[in-house]
């Protein structure tokens, strides 16, 4: 659906040039939810704007729905943009228009006749759950409602692709989840390809099928969300994954416990997908002469399955512990010994 071939974007600034996007190649499939995560300044805003031609690449090719976005100009570019919806962090609604008029705006641009326009707006209001608020002005809406208007507006011309520019970053956690659920619903119902950029791992975890990690203009890692979670390669990816499943307090709490266990070892067990559902600890205790003490645990649900982390203290004879660890590993559970007091 979307192909980026060695795309580079260089800005000329007063004090030299800045490479915002550095030789990025990506392939985004039809109907998937693709997330791009990175800290601010990583170049993800520029990258997403290359997809609808708001930015032109310095070199490389951007193909969206069979159209080379680097070549099209004028009327054809505007036509192409009508097939790519976009939502924004700060919603960017016209405050002078009501909900209904805001949603009608892209239809006016596309030259849809008035009667058809009204019909389509009604459908969209229904779709995003804004019935009853049609005639409110944006200033009378909550953040979540504003983003719903943004989504309805982006979907008005039946786009093939929806771009989300930090769409939930200005919302509270509860509203974020509601908006993310809506995006998944739209993705399923309309078969829409969604590309989103974010700095929140939570967003990736919750709705993305695949993820790309961006750092100083480059894609440093990409793949299936669950795969990247299980096996992060780059330091930055590890940091993002850690942020999600292992908040700072955990780290503190665990290191505090080191002193309390003069023998045995502390290990971090990472479960992915089906492995998260098995009674692993029971099996270990039954089969090996070890004591298992669960220190902390957490399971997160991703779009593709469960993902869990368990911190345990294992004590017993040296080779018995080793055999237990070996057994755990054979159950497709990643083991990382984080403190060995033996």
């Amino acid at each position: 659906m979307i192909t980026l071939e060695q795309v580079t974007k260089i800005y000329q600034a007063a004090n030299g040039s800045v490479t915002a996007v550095d030789n990025v190649s990506l392939e985004i499939r039809e109907g998937e939810i693709f997330g791009i995560i990175g800290y601010s300044g990583a170049g993800k805003s520029t990258l997403i704007r290359l997809l609808n031609g708001l930015e032109k690449p310095t070199s490389g090719r951007v193909v969206v729905a069979g159209r080379d976005m680097t070549r099209v100009k004028g009327r054809e570019l505007r036509k192409a943009r009508q097939e790519i919806g976009m939502i924004f962090q700060h919603f960017n609604l016209l405050w002078s228009r009501t909900v209904r008029e805001n949603i009608a705006f892209p239809l006016e641009i596309a030259g849809v006749p008035k009667e058809e326009r009204n019909k389509r707006v009604d459908e969209l209001i229904e779709l995003v759950g804004l019935s009853g608020r049609e005639d409110a002005y944006p200033s009378q809406l909550s953040g979540g409602q504003k983003q719903r208007v943004g989504i309805a507006r982006a979907l008005a011309n039946n786009p093939k692709v929806l771009l989300c520019d930090e769409a939930t970053s200005a919302l509270d956690p509860q509203t974020t989840d509601a908006i993310l659920d809506l995006l998944v619903d739209i993705n399923k119902r309309l078969g829409l390809t969604i590309v989103l950029i974010t700095h929140e791992m939570h967003v990736i975890r919750k709705i993305c099928d695949r993820v790309a990690v961006m750092e100083s203009g480059r894609i440093v890692e990409q793949g299936e969300v669950l795969h990247v979670f299980r096996n992060p390669q780059q330091p930055i990816t590890k940091r993002f994954v850690k942020q999600l499943i292992e908040p700072e307090e955990t780290e503190e709490a665990i290191s505090h416990l080191f002193g309390q266990y003069p023998s045995g070892l502390i290990a971090q067990l990472t479960f992915v997908g089906a492995a998260a559902g098995k009674p692993l600890i029971t099996e270990v205790v039954r089969q090996f002469a070890v004591d298992v003490n669960i220190l902390q645990g957490k399971i997160s649900q991703t779009h593709q399955g469960a993902y869990g982390v368990l911190f345990v203290h294992l004590d017993g004879a040296r080779d018995e512990i080793d055999r237990a660890l070996d057994y755990i590993q054979r159950q497709q559970v990643a083991v990382e010994v984080i403190h060995d007091a033996r």
Partner: protein, 222 residues
């Protein structure tokens, strides 16, 4: 009773002068509104980072605006005498005041328009572009509607200035309340005429401000 207090006021003349002032102000406000918006839009659109970014055009318009905004109005009228006589055919009467009024007020208003446009969130313009809007659509459906309250309060301020400009234009024979106050009131030492003319000017100004504030609050949905 009124005739005793204001012995020299001839109400018919006073009324005719008021109509002249209203006429000059009305036409000048309308022309200033249009010309100011065109100039303001050009200033905004050709500025750095905007849709029609063009340094040369921007500099030329900015220079024009700054020059005509800076010339004191009474001097501007005199400087424009050849232009006015060429355009209107005479230097006397209300119509002869119009070119100077518009040329004096439009650059002032253009700056206000520019400021109003700059207040619009860049994100909203970007959103319209992302929807495939053309520049014309963005001007008509985003820039002007989104800045309308500021455009209206700006034209209100400009209209109030225009009322006082018409009084100055009166000094060179344009007619209106200023002319009356100067010729009948000041030069013939009829203080009551000056007084009534002043009160009428104040009433006009208050009414303009009231209408402006009312319209602004009606259209501002922020």
């Amino acid at each position: 009773m009124l005739a005793n207090l204001l012995p020299n006021v001839q109400w018919e003349t006073m009324w005719a002068a008021t109509v002249e002032t209203l006429y000059m102000t009305g036409v000048a406000v309308a022309a200033t509104f249009v010309l100011g918006i065109v100039l303001g839009l050009l200033l905004f659109l050709t500025a750095k980072g905007n849709l029609w970014e063009n340094r040369f055009v921007n500099t030329v318009i900015a220079a024009f605006v700054n020059i005509f905004r800076s010339i004191p109005f009474i001097i501007l009228i005199i400087l424009l005498i050849p232009f006015t006589t060429w355009l209107v055919g005479t230097m006397l009467g209300a119509n002869a005041a119009l070119p100077a009024l518009v040329i004096g007020a439009a650059p002032f208003y253009a700056r206000m328009v520019e400021i109003a446009l700059r207040e619009i969130d860049k994100g909203v313009i970007e959103a319209a572009q992302a929807m495939g809007a053309s520049t014309w659509t963005i001007i008509w459906k985003v820039l002007l509607p989104e800045s309308l309250p500021a455009l209206v309060s700006g034209i209100t301020v400009t209209a109030v200035s225009l009322v006082s400009y018409t009084a100055m234009a009166g000094a060179i024979g344009a007619g209106g309340l200023g002319d009356l106050a100067y010729l009948e009131g000041f030069q013939r030492n009829h203080n009551d005429v000056t007084f009534v003319a002043t009160v009428l000017v104040l009433v006009i100004v208050f009414v303009i401000q009231l209408i402006g504030d009312f319209v602004t609050s009606k259209i501002d949905k922020r």
